[in-house]
Point group: C2
Chain length 711, copies 2
Amino acid sequence: PAKPSSKGIQVMPKAQTSHPLDPLSAAEISVAVATVRAAGATPEVRDSMRFVEVVLLEPEKGVVALADAYFFPPFQPSLIPRTKGGPVIPIKLPPRRARLVVYNKKSNETSIWIVELTEVHAATRGGHHRGKVISSEVVPDVQPPMDAMEYAECEATVKEFLPFMEAMRKRGIDDMDLVMVDAWCVGYYSEADAPSRRLAKPLIFCRTESDCPMENGYARPVEGIHIVVDIQHMVVIEFEDRKLVPLPPADPLRNYTPGETRGGIDRSDVKPLHILQPEGPSFRVNGCFVEWQKWNFRVGFTPREGLVIYSVAFVDGSHGRRPVAHRLSFVEMVVPYGDPNEPHYRKNAFDAGEDGLGKNAHSLKRGCDCLGYIKYFDAHFTNYTGGVETIENCVCLHEEDHGILWKHQDWRTGLAEVRRSRRLSVSFICTVANYEYGFFWHFYQDGKIEAEVKLTGVLSLGALLPGESRKYGTTIAPGLYAPVHQHFFVARMDMAVDCKPNEAFNQVVEVNVKVEEPGKTNIHNNAFYAEETVLRTELQAMRDCNPLSARHWIIRNTRTVNRTGQFTGYKLMPGSNCLPLAGTEAKFLRRAAFLKHNLWVTQYKNDEMYPGGEFPNQNPRVNEGLATWVKKNRSLEETDIVLWYVFGVTHIPRLEDWPVMPVDRLGFMLLPHGFFNCSPAVDVPPSSSSDSEAKESVISKTVQNSLIAKL
Amino acid sequence: PAKPSSKGIQVMPKAQTSHPLDPLSAAEISVAVATVRAAGATPEVRDSMRFVEVVLLEPEKGVVALADAYFFPPFQPSLIPRTKGGPVIPIKLPPRRARLVVYNKKSNETSIWIVELTEVHAATRGGHHRGKVISSEVVPDVQPPMDAMEYAECEATVKEFLPFMEAMRKRGIDDMDLVMVDAWCVGYYSEADAPSRRLAKPLIFCRTESDCPMENGYARPVEGIHIVVDIQHMVVIEFEDRKLVPLPPADPLRNYTPGETRGGIDRSDVKPLHILQPEGPSFRVNGCFVEWQKWNFRVGFTPREGLVIYSVAFVDGSHGRRPVAHRLSFVEMVVPYGDPNEPHYRKNAFDAGEDGLGKNAHSLKRGCDCLGYIKYFDAHFTNYTGGVETIENCVCLHEEDHGILWKHQDWRTGLAEVRRSRRLSVSFICTVANYEYGFFWHFYQDGKIEAEVKLTGVLSLGALLPGESRKYGTTIAPGLYAPVHQHFFVARMDMAVDCKPNEAFNQVVEVNVKVEEPGKTNIHNNAFYAEETVLRTELQAMRDCNPLSARHWIIRNTRTVNRTGQFTGYKLMPGSNCLPLAGTEAKFLRRAAFLKHNLWVTQYKNDEMYPGGEFPNQNPRVNEGLATWVKKNRSLEETDIVLWYVFGVTHIPRLEDWPVMPVDRLGFMLLPHGFFNCSPAVDVPPSSSSDSEAKESVISKTVQNSLIAKL
Ligand SMILES: [Co+2]
Ligand SMILES: [Co+2]
């Protein structure tokens, strides 16, 4: 029963406990899987179902607005959606929906299912699950991502294949327990790779008989064996022992375990460093909703992207909650290698679309992965056969001191004002085969958002013939070779700069700084100026970085101005970046055409999510995804803007990247540009130095005493 | 008396307590000043002496090696210099020397003095100072940097100048106490700026009558008044009231003091965050010598450069102490503005050479400027009249946690190894008029060195006529305008990659990644490779960044190889960068030709220190400094290499940069590249997560209790 609120707007009793953007709960995933399985026509169909991905089908933006305005306080009344007749008065939110990608292992068919999860929460309490299939659709000519279970089965299949065992014996390997078979996607090079078959092309490595508990098996690549596995039927369909390259000698520096287990000694002079927040963190978390300083947003997670950030907004005093973005995530990444030789030319992993950043995420450990006061979020998935699996402590939320925020010292008086910067970091780390990627979103007090990727893990190596060296990489150790490669990441940013619900008034402006012509008004030749160009259509908005013109892009609201009368905006500030160094006709670029530009801008469309299409694995369709969508050349003059920022790094391996590469970082920033009337960080309070010193000395003493006493 | 050491090498008793690279002590500065003053021919000459700079005259590299080997343990015996006849056996180190830049205020002459400080240390204890003039030399046609005393006198002079007071009254300003006169260097635009006169061209600002204790006076630029001051005689020599621009209205957002004093309120939700090192820091400091993890180096300081890092080396197990660099510092910076109008076209501050980064350094505050366990270093200078002044806590040395250092998780077992990164930061912060610059050198456990500049402070503004807007900048507030500008920094790196004493076996290689030609060995068109080019001569080594070819530079030792037989090296990895956007014929570029390339490489020469020459102020000599030195086109094939890395950022002001700009960062990295045989960070011990959690919880509880009890 509706009852009037104090402002005369009718407020409904909540029917939902989940926000429309909350990831599916374990219970919801179970219901969705059971519903789809029950809809299978025959027992055989039901048995053949493999659950590649089960995720929330994200609702329309209007539903989110409704939820934020009515059902999930404490949002601003200004957010209540309005029609001509006055505020919208909803009875309740629409039911949540799941979207499932199902692979039929028997028929080699991929299908997409939509399931409505009616009153799952109420029902699960009583033990009654209710789901309803809304639609199902077979997607022709695709192969969905590989699954961990397939990886394991593929390894077992290869290791039992007699010609393979024979080839390994030729290389002096009798013990199959030492052999590692890493299934890699085949990509698409010719009709032989067509998705009518589900294929993998494994890389082979071999551990030694050492007793190191976590020996680095990637240190001994086994070269020259060509294998293709049909992973639908789990049989080796191509096998050839093409070239006998001796196993590289066991590198004494290959391991990365603690000193005593790798024949070394660890440093003993790293003194402990603790981060203490005696009054707790400055953030508040309610379900998936995070509030910190003036920022608020929702945390989401998908098996493909990993962390998703929804509904990013800044609470700006009397202006209330000002949206910045609807949805931020990393939707794809590609790692193309530069060696044209077998097997390296096939290495161009699409780690999100062919595998999954989220489902390969780590369970993080306090004190090791993260310091300080941590709030962790768990993530729920299906495994291949439809069981629910949970990665505990999968997303890390914590605060960090980040050096000085701003400072000025008056040279006349010597008086200084200085503030320390605090940032809020949300992150996860995943492993895709040999490499690790950490994805971090940092929120700052000055309105800045930073996206940062950390790269670490083990190089993907090849073995060399004695005396051989290769133009296309670095010899890392005797007989061991690391080909040059690039790492590209695609951030998809569905922006909402100053957009109230049901508003879509954004545009993108490119800024280039230009040298002024010499002349009477520029007699000292010092002049330069920023030139702005509105990116009016999608084809005009395929752009590359240009540090020499200080090129950047501003996402502006065309209906909101700051105190100087300029449109409010956020600017995308590139960090270091590059473009593909492969030839423009490279085969993998037909699937990864989105790498050809650093920036793409599209008009929002809910099913345009993945820049290389939803199924890049074995994809025969040239330029699927972004490069095709933009051919519609939709207008970008005043609309709901999606930015696709593509950034990468060229990795020429160093000896120092072995056996585990020290973290390298790259990323970009979103900075307010005329969004505020002045620095939003001016109100950060000063630290009291004397206070801080006194407290720290008390803390230090107490800690020392207590540690001596208690530990 | 020499006595034989255990290894048969004679070791001398120490005659010095100062290392040859220690900055001058306060006592040494006093002696140097007194010695020079005493050498003045007449009382008039002595009275006219102004002491612009008094610094250590750095000794030859051989003397440093000698000191390190004999007098300042615990260095490696392998460092003892050798001649053909065996180890060198010194009696004692040569005396320390001071170098003084003296300006004769009467004669307008600048001279350079070298003073030998014989036994100053012994002598000062007994009260007897001894210095000896070694040389003195008048430098024609230069103007040394401006001094703080001149700034103050220039301001007073202008404020007492009747036509100026009249012009201010015309603008409604009667109270001269509100007026701020910032003396700026005139640069060199024509013969009128010749160094035969010592000139300043002040910018005028005016505070309001508010009672804010630290009102931001830069918020009201006074436009249209042309003034030139002869600061030798402290008289206004040119004055013209050219254009009446009304004072901008007092911007309510101009102040940056705590909330209650600026008419706002500060955030109250920043909870305390403490960094605790209960067992102390991991570094050891002995005088100016710093040891941390496997790094060691010496801290120095000059009035011009600020922080100097000497003798950087990495202790690499059985390989001992391996040098990386002799000397690292920032030797110049330039901030050219893009507006061709008065007074902005004159703004292109050479903040090191015209003013001084070191002598404008801050006294830092624990808890505000720096967190954690801090070791501060003081800095000593002369003031203009020769008195010794000390900036206490001028250089900050501390450790920081820096996120994950490396990680790998085995996908087969789920077992992970992860290490946390600790870094050592050495830094200082200075104010040059309105802007602040923080200069940071970070040392990492993986052998990386990062140079980072933090930019903050107050924008340099102009006032606009009502309704006016300008192509060359951003309107920041009504009537207030911030011209576009660039900030350039020059890092001078005197390298010593794997160079033992008296060795100079370095070369520089440029690396560009190239797309491979299509063809039979590249049928999938994926191939690319790194191409190396030795920079053989100085003219060949004028290079610019190129992110598209992943361009970087490697400093190699041509006599030392790693385990794969490649030369050992360190690579200079650019961060984001730019080039000047002024026209190539811009007047200021005649003094700043070094900005025309991002990289310069020279053969070491002890008097080639400042890329625009020692005295850029009013400098009429086109291309003095780097651009002239490289015309010698010396060989760089195997020598003592000095790298000059020039990097900058184009600053298009945002409303959010006002009233104090949130810190922006830029910089570059030096990374080992085949310097080590594998990652030097592999031996960093793991944090024990359970241990760390237990300890942190004990600490947290104890702290809370004790804070409640004691505070
Ligand atoms: Co890599
Ligand atoms: Co600036």
